[in-house]
Symmetry: C3
């Protein structure tokens, strides 16, 4: 059993921005020399999240709409009382979607569906350099 | 520390279909000989998800209603422009619920609540043979 | 590679109650002597969940409102037919948010954002002593 860590950052536009991070994960899996195991990803910060979706413009637009309906930006949030920074919806969206995700490695390759990509989401109202921790655990 | 992999497939009805996969996971835990560790499950494909719920008909019906309110099937989705296959809501539902889940093993047994079952969800509009990767890591 | 388990319970008010469990996790990471690795947390029972948020009263109030909009308490649930215990919404909320979460350890420290706390949520309509399994895996 070995462990391989490869944390990274992604420059993101103001939210909702959704970026395909599959190439970064695939590259790390290749470098890790892990044959069978798991990749753990966690988005750092309280206004990001990670999930999977088919990364094509239509589905991405549909996901943005759904996320903005879960916690609409144009609404009053109690979080305003603390910081007056207008991103109460960003925090709620991030908490509902969740910041962690795990995916398997088999025979040295990431196991995803043909149309399934791993995406990092910035819910914040400002551009952000979002950090992600990646930990790969498995057999050589 | 050992690792034990046991990927599997489940025949599912068109969505929303929710199937209790706890027996499959319990069986693998038993075969793995892991005493203390973790089971990682990931649903392969962009129209599935994994979570836990009390697996009884009422709660399952309630969950289906809530999921269909997050991303209603009878609505226009931009995803239509790419494929014209009518499953835009399936992709959004899957991304919001999330495809990965982890649960612990203690003393060789899966640790879940008495009324808590692990469920695989098919959000797609067609019957699917859904694949799940299962990786068990822990001490013998 | 070592594994360290440290399951714990938290006394919680009737739902929605949201408790910051970061100090418990940080303490376990310190005791585990793991330098680089992952912490896996799973909420036991079908009416709890785990996620992260900035733990300040405003954001917590905003999250409670959003969760109660996902599955409103004052609505009819089919789950009533099974148990007549009035917590159909609790089960649905828990399934949508999800009971498991993973976070990284680097240089012996938990990696979270400055304003990001790990929270355990009780969705049930009764006070609960909620159990959480914690498994830490990594290098010494």
């Amino acid at each position: 059993m070995i462990i391989y860590t490869n944390d990274f950052s992604v420059k993101m536009e103001k939210g909702i921005d959704i970026v395909d991070i599959t190439p970064i994960v695939r590259d790390a899996v290749s470098k890790s020399d892990v044959k069978d195991g798991v990749v753990h990803l966690t988005s750092i910060g309280s206004t990001g999240s990670i999930t999977t979706i088919e990364y094509e413009p239509g589905a991405i637009a549909d996901l943005k709409r759904a996320i903005n309906e879960l916690a609409p930006p144009d609404r009053y949030y109690e979080h305003e009382k603390a910081w007056h920074d207008g991103n109460g919806h960003s925090h709620v969206q991030s908490a509902l979607l969740g910041p962690s995700f795990s995916v398997s490695i088999r025979n040295g390759r990431l196991v995803l569906g043909t149309w399934q990509q791993i995406v990092l989401i910035n819910h914040d109202i400002h551009p952000r350099e979002r950090r992600v921790t990646m930990t790969i655990i498995g057999t050589e």
